[in-house]
């Protein structure tokens, strides 16, 4: 366990008009909970609700409107979350299309999502999570950054500052291209801020990946994947790969100044931490592009467990939410995954698989049949 041995935990969950649920409430134990039930019973929505209450966004859909029960105006989720070092808090999230989110903690409204969300409190594996391996670079960057937000102080702010300065530089270069009163030389103040924030982002990503590499290789092998597993930062611009953390800021600033003409012609900044990617594979096999569905799933699970290790060691053990992973794994891999997630922390697993026997395969697990065991109202 981490510096404090602390863990995140959700003890109670209430939802109203989320996907197929009208009203539902659920009490969750501190260890492993297995939600079983047939397809469409609403297991995934319960997992989704935990994630909503923790970080305010769905792991499955970028459109919050998709989550509102058909025919209803708004959804609401309330969860009792144990925050490491702080004790239990009651968190509320309401959402209504075109009105937006209403957030509160312990009954006190919180205006900004950034202040309300709890980075590093949950790690989720939903089938869509394969994007973290085979998706576009942005999906892999996001997967990494979500963990670093909880581990590296100031990382969230650095990413936001970098993005805002990047948007300003791009706007300036586009306006300069159309001769709209702006000059490319005026990009300098934005480049200075991109370099300062970008250096913090790059340092954080380099550190994070260095700490994740060994756990990833171990979990990949343990889950029956290849040996020689590796994750590496494919940083942008690659020309600065050899530059150490101390010199990176100045080097990137000079690089940007040098690239103004080409970036202006393209109408955007072509290289920088906003184009970083994560290489995932084994030996020289690029699992992102060449892996089979099964290999990519194993890699995504190994990545999730490496993230769990990093959070546990440097921040607090997150709540693990594994949606429908077991049906795709053979018994040997299932067993390895169950072993890995029964570490004393809270893990919530959903499964529709009738061939999977949680009572036998997951010792000590609490099995909740969905919807029968869920306190629900029509």
């Amino acid at each position: 366990m981490g510096p404090s041995g602390a863990s995140w935990r959700v003890s109670a969950l209430e939802l109203r008009d989320v996907r197929s649920w009208h009203r539902a409430s659920l009490v969750l134990g501190p260890g492993v909970t297995v939600l079983t039930g047939h397809n469409g019973a609403g297991k995934t929505s319960l997992v989704e609700a935990v994630v909503l209450a923790a970080v305010g966004a769905s792991p499955r859909s970028g459109q919050m409107g998709d989550l509102v029960r058909h025919g209803e105006r708004a959804l609401h989720v309330r969860a009792t979350l144990a925050v490491p070092g702080r004790g239990e808090t009651v968190r509320d999230l309401g959402y209504q299309p075109r009105v937006g989110r209403r957030l509160a903690e312990d009954g006190v409204p919180v205006a900004s999502l950034a202040a309300w969300r709890r980075p590093g409190s949950v790690l989720v594996f939903v089938p869509e999570e394969l994007r973290a391996v085979k998706g576009p670079p942005a999906a892999r960057r996001r997967g990494l950054d979500r963990v670093l937000e909880a581990v590296v102080p100031g990382f969230t702010e650095a990413v936001a500052t970098y993005g805002a300065a990047l948007a300003q530089r791009n706007a300036l270069l586009r306006r300069a291209k159309t001769g709209d009163g702006a000059a490319v030389a005026d990009a300098a103040p934005w480049e200075a801020q991109m370099a300062a924030a970008g250096a913090a982002v790059t340092r954080g990503r380099r550190q994070g990946i260095a700490m994740m590499a060994a756990p990833f290789a171990r979990w990949l092998a343990d889950l029956g994947g290849a040996s020689g597993g590796a994750v590496r930062l494919e940083a942008s611009p690659s020309r600065l790969d050899g530059v150490g953390d101390d010199g990176w800021q100045d080097a990137f600033r000079a690089y940007l100044a040098d690239r103004r003409g080409r970036d202006a012609a393209a109408g955007m900044t072509l290289a920088g931490p906003h184009r970083d990617d994560l290489w995932i594979g084994w030996d020289d096999f690029d699992a992102r592009r060449l892996g089979s569905q099964g290999e990519q799933r194993t890699a995504a699970l190994a990545l999730l467990l490496a993230h769990r290790d990093l959070l546990r060691e440097r921040a607090a053990r997150p709540i693990l939410l594994l949606d429908d992973v077991f049906s795709e794994l053979d018994p040997g891999r299932r067993h390895a995954l169950v072993e890995a997630v029964t570490d004393g922390g809270q893990t919530i697993i959903t499964t529709a698989d009738t061939g999977f026997e949680p009572q036998r395969e997951v010792p000590g697990a609490v099995v909740v049949r969905v919807p029968d065991d869920v306190d629900a109202a029509a």
Binding site: E157, T161, A164, A167, Q168, P189
Partner: protein, 188 residues
């Protein structure tokens, strides 16, 4: 009510409350308010020197001969002058840029009173320019731009970022505390 609700921070409900209040109070008070508003529109104009607000030819600060002409403080908006004045720590003159650089919003150096600033620095014998743009991304970029434009001509300083007086370190946000650490000063 429609006119009132155009004011910043006034929603439809506040506008309604203000309108009813104006109707209820003695009519001479409403007329006094109307006269003040008319005066605002007719008499207040940008100061030709610092671009703050002036009622006479120059604003009261530019008209004050006792101030230190070697100091010039650059702010984004006139509203930033009042809090600096309240500190009583500053005895120089001001220069209002009229905003901050922001290419996204179409604000380029030409849209700010930067040429006027450079001309004043030359003409008024300024020794130090205190850059007091906001500690936001656009304010920082504007400060960096001005520093480049003024480099070698004059001493350039920037307001320090730091901790609120009377607050515990334990409650400071990481960004502010980090800046305060970077900007720490020799004590002995």
């Amino acid at each position: 009510m429609a006119e009132l609700s155009r004011l910043p921070g006034i929603g439809a409900r506040s506008a309604q409350r203000l309108a009813f209040h104006l109707l209820r109070q003695p009519s001479e008070r409403s007329l006094a308010l109307a006269a003040a508003l008319t005066g605002l529109a007719e008499r207040i104009h940008p100061c030709p020197r610092c671009f703050s607000f002036a009622e006479d030819e120059l604003c009261p600060i530019c008209a004050d001969q006792r101030r230190d002409p070697s100091l010039l403080c650059v702010v984004e908006e006139p509203s930033a002058i009042l809090p600096i004045e309240r500190t009583s720590e500053y005895r120089g003159y001001y220069h209002v840029l009229g905003g901050a650089l922001s290419p996204i919003d179409g604000v380029d150096p030409d849209d700010l009173r930067i040429a006027e600033l450079l001309a004043r620095v030359e003409a008024e014998g300024v020794a130090e320019v205190v850059i007091a743009t906001n500690p936001t991304m656009t304010g920082e970029a504007t400060a960096l731009y001005l520093a480049d434009a003024l480099r070698g001509k004059v001493r350039i300083t920037r307001l320090a970022s730091g901790l609120p007086v009377g607050a515990d370190l334990e409650h400071a946000d990481e960004l502010t505390l980090g800046r305060a650490l970077l900007g720490r000063r020799e004590l002995a």
